[in-house]
Structures are given as C-alpha cells and as structure tokens.
C-alpha cells in the first residue's frame, strides 16, 4: 500500500498515528508494541505509573528518540525518515525545562525564536502572556521552578505548532500561575495535544481520548470517560 506524498500543508485526519511501536533501552523494552491514533484537534491523555514508558513515548513523537520497530506518523510525516519535517511543527514540553541556565529568559526565548525563524516580537508577546515581562532579563538560574516552567511553556509554543506534546505540564507551576498557561497550552487553542500526567482526574477532564501504559504496553484505550478513569487508576495499583 503506497501512502500519498506528505506536504507541509496537508492536514491528515489523524494528527498522530502509531502502529506497533517498540523502543528498547539496552536489553529492556521501554515501549512494547504500542498502537493508537489521535484525531486532529483532539487531546490524548497518557496515564501510567513511573517507568511505564510515557515520557519515552512523548520523546519518540517529538523526534528526540527514534522508533526501533513499528510505524510512527506525526502530522503526516513518517518517523524517523521524515523527522526533519516534523520538527518545526511540534511543541514539546518535557520533564526538565530545556533552558540554558546562564542565559536570561529573554535570551533563551530569542534563541529558540531565531532557530525557528520567528520574529523577536513574538518573544515579547509570550513573555507578557506568561506574566514574566519584568523578569525577562533575569538569568534562568535566578528564577523559581514555576517561572522556569512558564518560560519553557512559552518556548514550546513560540513557533505556533499544530501539535503539542506535554509531559506533566502543571507539576511545577504555582497554582496561581496555572491559569496563565491556559491560553498557551489549553484546549481552546484548537491544537492537537498529547498530555502525560499523573493526575487522572485532571487528565480525564482535559482529554478526548485516553490510553494507559504499564511496563511499556497499552492496557487501557478509549474515549475519556469515568469508566476510563477507573481503569487508569487501576494501573497505579
């Protein structure tokens, strides 16, 4: 079966398609025969205990890791061969805010902006959106963990990507600031989102579909509902 040539302006019906994805770490299997898909514009929540492979999954989709087996299609492009097409269109917010400690918030954002070919005005726009305009010239290691997370979130959306990959986005944020991230990372933006979280209730509320991972395998899959929540909770047992 031949697939149609992907162009950067095509909007496939599924933003993400994963078939039999396997990713090993040495002799251990981090992701084992994982399959699922995410329709464009919807949100997928990924649940599972520590070590289940959730972060690895996100990293594969972000093109940070390559799939060892299986087929992964992100925004119409197949990984790992077409990874370069995907990079400018995905926003990834990982466990660690990937920022240069000795540079200021503004410098970090400007660096990311330039790499993505985005204007500096967007940097100011985002700093304002996360409420850190006045702290823009402070070095990252002078900012609190919550503030760093806000800058990292700004960096994740600086190029206005159609797909967001979020790994525990609210874990480090001060409760007061969570609202600030809504317009950037929330449902309202219309972006396709894949969300990894420990907070099952929150995840169900945010998502349209869910999957649950345990030891690298999919144990729960389906629409976000209270039934799914119960099954997801069971994984943590």
């Amino acid at each position: 079966m031949s697939s149609p040539p992907s162009s950067t302006h095509e909007t496939p019906s599924n933003a993400v398609e994963v078939e039999n994805l396997t990713r090993r770490y040495g002799d251990r299997v981090a992701l084992d025969d994982v399959s699922f898909s995410v329709p464009t514009g919807q949100t997928l929540a990924v649940f599972g205990p520590n070590g289940a492979g959730k972060s690895t999954l996100l990293k594969v989709l972000a093109t940070l890791l390559r799939p060892h087996e299986g087929v992964v299609r992100v925004l119409g492009s197949e990984l790992p061969g077409e990874a370069w097409k995907v990079r400018g269109r995905v926003g990834y917010l990982g466990h660690e805010p990937a920022l240069y400690r000795s540079l200021t918030a503004r410098e970090n954002l400007r660096f990311a902006a330039r790499l993505h070919g985005v204007d500096d005005d967007r940097v100011e726009e985002l700093l304002d959106a996360v409420g850190l305009t006045r702290r823009g010239n402070d070095r990252i290691d002078e900012l609190s963990r919550g503030m760093r997370q806000r800058i990292a979130a700004a960096r994740a959306v600086i190029h206005d990507p159609p797909l967001l990959l979020l790994d525990e986005p609210w874990s480090a944020i001060d409760p007061g600031a969570i609202g600030l991230l809504e317009p950037l990372l929330g449902r309202g933006t219309g972006r396709t989102r894949i969300l990894v979280t420990h907070d099952v209730a929150r995840g169900i509320a945010e998502a349209d579909v869910v999957i649950g991972l345990l030891a690298g395998r999919v144990h729960v899959a389906g629409p976000a509902s209270s039934a799914a929540a119960v099954e997801a909770e069971a994984l943590f047992a």
């Binding site: 770490y25 040495g26 002799d27 299997v29 060892h68 345990l214 030891a215 395998r217 069971a234 047992a237």
Partner: protein, 241 residues
C-alpha cells in the same frame, strides 16, 4: 546473520599458506649479508603491518556501510576487523622492536617513519574499545563506533604522510629494503608470507564473527523466551485485578 560459510576451507588454505611461508622463510630465503638471521623477522613484520593497516581501513569502510544501511552485520564486521588489527598491531610493534634491537641495539628507533606512524595509529585504535563500550545503548554504540572507525580510517593515510615528512632524510632508514627492490628469492618469500598472514587475518575474523553471531542469536532467543513468560504472568495479573 550467518558468517560461518566456508570457514573450514579457509582455515585449511590458511594453514597450508602459513606452512609454505614458514618453509620459505627458514629454508629458502637467503641470509642477508649485513643483518644476519634476524633480518628474517622482516618477512613477518612488514606483512603484519600492511594487513593491520588494511584491516583498520576496512573497519572504516564497513562502518560507512553500517551508517548507510543500518544493517548490524556491518557493525560486527567493522568491530572484528578493528579488533583483529589491534592484535596484529601488537605483533607489529613487538617484531619491529626485536628487529630494531638486533640491528641497531635500541628497542625503539624514531628514525623509521613507518614504525612511528604505526605507533600513533595503534594508540588511537587502542581507544576504540573503551570508547565503544562506555556507551550503553547498543544502537547508539554502533553508530558512534562507526563514526570513530571512519574518522580513524581517514586518519591513517594522513598520519603516515605527516610523519614521513617530519622525519629528516639524514637519519638512516632502518628498513632499507622495501618490496620493490628485493632480489627474486626474497621477493617470493615476502609475497607468500603476505598472502599467508592476510589469509590468517581473514580466517580469524571469520571465526570471531561466527562465534559472535551465535552468541547474539542465543541471547535474543533467551530474551524472547523471557518476554513471553513475563507477558503471560502480567496478563494473569491484570486479568485478576
């Protein structure tokens, strides 16, 4: 991956060639006038060096194939070629040293550019295994090892040229006879020896490759067996909860 094809024929051919070479070296080749019997070590030393260097360069070429195709058999080939050349390299340095001591009274001579270049290349390749095995992920390990093999392989000729240029021509060369200007009987012995040592290299490599692929196959079967047991146990657990 099957590497063992033709191993027995190869081994027999090697044994025959080696026997012939030894015979020629000891009984056929004349004793050299000014250097005496010890000069005969040259029939081992130079072929060993040539084969080792070719082995290293081959390791680089196999590495290019690995990066281009992603087929792990090239990784095995590259690793074994480099590893075997390293062992040959030890022999080169030892025979070179013995030769130098017997002819010049010193265990090491800076005046022989090929020997000096060889030492530098040898030291470089000594780092191959430690570097390689300090990377945990096998796929990444193969890739990084390949980059090393290609870089080092490209370095070999560069290095030889550089050291050659640096060695003053005033200093007398230790190996005054190179294959080109040898009299007939010596040249024959030298060629046979070269063929025998090259065959030995290929046989040993094939042997190591066969053994490695067998071990790898076994490990993979074992892992698959464990995984099957694990998932059966898990299904029982999830079903029960």
């Amino acid at each position: 991956m099957v590497f063992g094809k033709g191993l027995r024929t190869l081994a027999l051919a090697t044994a025959a060639a080696l026997a012939l070479a030894m015979g020629l070296i000891f009984f056929y080749a004349p004793i050299e006038a000014d250097q005496g019997f010890v000069q005969k070590i040259f029939y081992l030393h130079v072929p060993l060096a040539i084969v080792a260097l070719c082995g290293w360069v081959a390791g680089g070429i196999f590495a290019i194939q690995l990066l281009r195709t992603g087929d792990r058999k090239w990784d095995y080939r590259s690793y074994v070629a480099i590893h075997m050349s390293l062992i040959y390299g030890v022999a080169v340095l030892l025979t070179g040293s013995i030769w130098a001591k017997a002819s010049w009274g010193h265990w090491w001579v800076w005046g022989e550019p090929t020997l000096v270049s060889f030492l530098i290349v040898f030291l470089l390749y000594c780092t191959y295994q430690p570097m390689r095995f300090s990377i945990a992920d096998p796929e990444k390990q193969g890739r990084y090892a390949a980059v090393f093999a290609i870089t080092a392989g490209a370095f070999v000729p560069l290095n030889f040229v550089a050291v050659r240029l640096a060695t003053p021509l005033v200093h007398p060369r230790v190996f005054t006879r190179v294959a080109g200007d040898l009299p007939g009987s010596m040249r024959l012995t030298w060629l046979v020896s070269l063929v025998a040592i090259a065959l030995l290299f290929v046989t040993l490599c094939k042997l190591e490759l066969t053994s490695k692929s067998a071990k790898d196959h076994l490990r993979r079967l074992r892992r698959r067996l464990e995984a099957r047991d694990e998932s059966a146990a898990e299904r029982a657990f999830v079903g029960a909860s």
